[in-house]
């Protein structure tokens, strides 16, 4: 058993001080990084509750429920920022990357404390796969919101559509990573490959 709240406080305090010392985009990134960490903790609470309430079991909750809960938790602050402040595309992407990085970092730290830090290979795989996956899924979500605004597509269908894309991506990753051998190898490669594709799509969109 670990005390995630204590870890969050210890990680958040220096970052919180940083918010007062930096400006503009750097401040935005730090704030959303903090929000991402808080979203991770809240997501763990919700997943834990569903695990107990629905009786899925820890493994099935991690594979099937966590992608839905975690993506929703990451999406909510981003959606609030998008709807309330109407940021431009760059600011929205900064916010998205901040939330994704904060979420992934906090999850990685908690995972490391739980499973140990002896194997550098395992930590690198986890860092690259899970870290990149959270950033990619929320970047894809932000891309969906940017496209929805660009093509003047608003409403529940567009928002839920964008959210589902990231949930499905995260769900496919979790499902593949839960297996052994080739399926987990494909799962671990999936975020990096998708990261490259999303980056290229964003560059193309910016060029237009």
């Amino acid at each position: 058993m670990i005390f995630s709240e204590n870890i969050l406080i210890c990680m958040a305090l220096p970052l919180l001080l940083t918010v007062f010392l930096v400006r503009d985009n750097a401040r935005r990134l730090v704030i959303f990084f903090l929000i991402g960490m808080a979203a991770c903790l809240l997501g763990a609470y919700v997943s834990g509750f569903i695990d107990v309430a629905a009786g899925y079991g820890t493994e099935d909750t991690a594979i099937f429920i966590s992608p839905v809960v975690e993506e929703a938790m990451k999406f909510l602050p981003l959606l609030f920022y998008f709807l309330m402040f109407g940021p431009d595309n760059d600011r929205l992407f900064t916010a998205a990357v901040g939330v994704g990085a904060g979420f992934a970092s906090f999850e990685n730290v908690c995972s490391m404390i739980t499973s140990g830090t002896e194997s550098l290979g395992f930590l690198l795989i986890r860092g690259l796969a899970v870290g990149v996956m959270h950033i990619v899924s929320i970047a894809a979500l932000a891309l969906g919101l940017v496209m929805a605004r660009r093509y003047k597509v608003s409403g529940v269908s567009a928002i839920l559509g964008a959210l589902s894309v990231s949930m499905l991506f995260h769900g496919i990753y979790n499902l593949l990573a839960s297996g052994n051998g080739i399926s987990s190898a494909i799962g671990f490669c999936l975020p990096i490959v998708t990261a490259i594709l999303v980056f290229l799509a964003y560059r193309k969109l910016q060029a237009k």
Binding site: F64, M147, G155, A158, L160, V165, S178
Partner: protein
């Protein structure tokens, strides 16, 4: 070859076709100066592709177990909403749906949802999907009415076929096991009959070169095939699953035709 293996092959083909169609639709979005229907079509294909992929991976990794609530159910619900938004975006002459049509369509959707619940026991999921499908069916009926794609008599025929289908499906839960196959077979015949009905109308509109009517009929045809898939099991499920793929190609071709005609 087992029923599950046939499903996996059908879904794999559908994924490959969807990947190609997604690429073509993204290109169509650029060519059509960001036409909204084309944008929604690309969203729909993207979601369809991911839900298929999720289902296939699950089926390959856990072939013996029934899938619990997972991300793909939200994906399917979102996909239905996006398809409804696509249908609504393509309507040129917005019209209100008369009360009779609205009631009939909603009754059909509610009956479907009740039958799904009776079959699977997943109450919350089926209610949510039922509500979304009611919205989707209403959008399709509204689009067909806006283009006067069906005459009064054809609407009555469609209504009678749908009612007979719900009656036959309901009977399978009521009658004894010995004679259950009879209403079941009739239900499948009716599912195919309505699909053929929409396919014939589609071919006629193709000959008459009515781009928008053709597009809305292709939407109706594919959504009907999807509904039929959800109502079926075993080899019948595979049949409708396989029929979806050419239906998706028809979607793309008819949307492209309608978008270019604007």
């Amino acid at each position: 070859m087992t029923v599950i293996q046939i499903s996996q092959i059908s879904v794999s083909i559908q994924i490959a076709v969807l990947a190609v169609l997604l690429g073509l639709t993204v290109r169509l979005v650029g060519e059509s100066a960001r036409n909204l229907t084309a944008v929604f079509l690309s969203f729909s294909f993207g979601l369809w592709l991911l839900t298929d992929l999720y289902w296939l991976i699950y089926d390959l990794m856990r072939p013996e177990s029934r899938m619990p609530f997972a991300a793909n159910e939200i994906g399917e619900t979102a996909m239905s909403l996006v398809i409804a938004a696509m249908v609504n975006s393509a309507i040129r002459r917005p019209t209100r749906l008369p009360m009779g049509f609205l009631t009939g369509t909603c009754l059909f959707a509610v009956s479907n949802a009740v039958l799904w619940i009776l079959w699977s026991g997943e109450i919350v999921e089926d209610i949510i999907v039922g509500v979304v499908y009611a919205w989707l069916y209403c959008s399709i009926v509204r689009s067909l009415r806006s283009e006067q794609a069906l005459t009064g008599t054809k609407w009555i025929v469609l209504g009678v076929l749908c009612t007979a289908l719900i009656v036959c499906q309901s009977l399978t839960f009521i009658v004894s096991e010995d004679i259950k196959n009879i209403p079941d077979l009739f239900a499948y015949i009716l599912l195919i009959a309505v699909a053929v009905f929409f396919a014939c109308l589609f071919i006629r509109s193709y000959k008459e070169k009515l781009a928008h009517v053709q597009m809305f009929l292709s939407f109706a045809l594919v959504i009907w095939i999807t509904t039929a898939k959800y109502m079926s099991g075993g080899n019948w499920y595979n049949l409708f699953l396989t029929l979806e793929t050419p239906g998706l190609i028809l979607w793309f071709l008819s949307v492209r035709k309608a978008v270019k005609a604007v």
